[in-house]
Amino acid sequence: MTVDHSTNKSRIKDSGYSMIELMAVLVISTIIFLGATLAISTFFLKFQELQRISVLNREAFNCMQVIKHGVTVGIGGKTQFMGVINADEAELTGNYVEGGRTALLLKPPTSHSEYSAHDQIKIFLSEGHVRYEQYVFGSEGTTSRERYIFPKRVNTKNQIMEVTKLVFRNGNPTANNIKIVKVELEARVEISRTNKTTRNYHTVRYETFMAIGKM
């Protein structure tokens, strides 16, 4: 059977997209896609940044409250809070910085039947963390337990939050006995990295007075 191609060809409609149309569609699609990607990635970066700042604000504030009201110390059902407001004595120790010290030693009420004579808690700054050591109910407790108040201990590589300043001062410099303590806390969180070495931080600063329990 023979086919007359010339007859059929004349009946086919010469339709479709031209190269110019295809190129235009490609260019417009690419621009829209890039724009949307940029906008959404910016959104997620900003969201992450705000989330980190929010956590820093909250955790730094909580740290100040813990220093004031106390950390939970003791073992099993025999636990207490030990902090500035329920201490009998306070002593500034640690390194000197900006007219203050980086550590605060607190002694609980000696009249309290559960505490032994040498019980104490030390709150201090160490390698970007607010930490504490305890000697309570005549024991240091389990030494393997890491005692971090703020920020929580994580893998060093993933440590994005750090305390840059913790200063304890005598609230009344003219008095010898410390009855009121001024606490200043400065902490920062990494919010972005420009490159491998340059990091951008957001910093918060809190300060307040805390009167010790026994005047």
């Binding site: 949307a36 906008a39 959404i40 959104f43 705000l50 609230g171 008095a175 009855k179 300060e207 307040t208």
Partner: protein, 146 residues
């Protein structure tokens, strides 16, 4: 035999495409408005927390004054009359601190001498169109027990 007459020449009209773009654009704008709002809220919370700590610190200082020196003091305060709440690159916020002392007898059966100490920390909040915000903490102190 090949024919194209059965193919419908359809697609999106320009109006439909514009409508789709407008919807996507408004969604993106909404995202960024949300982010802006969240950012302002975070800064407001930070200033509130800082003011709260300063006000509570001032109350602690007045308590200390009362116990050690026997009286409250407007002049001898912990923070003075003003303090910087925020000195970041983005905002610089100054706050004013005020104290009020009101002495009276307690309203219970004991009628104890009582002093109500009010500490106010006020500032203009840049994250809220410079509206004045105030944190006010009040505490009662009793001089003695019967």
């Amino acid at each position: 035999m090949i024919t194209k007459t059965s193919c419908k020449d359809s697609g999106f009209t320009l109006i439909e495409l514009l409508a789709a773009f407008a919807i996507v654009l408004s969604a993106l704008v909404a995202l960024f408005v949300g982010i802006q709002f969240a950012e302002r809220q975070i800064y407001k919370n930070y200033h509130n927390r800082q003011a709260m700590l300063i006000a509570s610190g001032e109350l602690e200082y007045q308590y200390y004054r009362k116990v050690i020196y026997g009286n409250f003091s407007v002049d001898n305060s912990g923070f003075g009359d003003s303090i910087i709440l925020d000195d970041s690159k983005r905002f610089r916020v100054n706050a004013n601190i005020s104290r009020r002392f009101q002495s009276k007898l307690s309203e219970d059966n004991f009628a104890l001498p009582q002093t109500t100490v009010t500490v106010e920390v006020s500032w203009r909040e840049p994250a809220e169109d410079n509206k004045t915000r105030t944190v006010r903490l009040i505490e009662d102190y009793y001089d003695s027990r019967p």
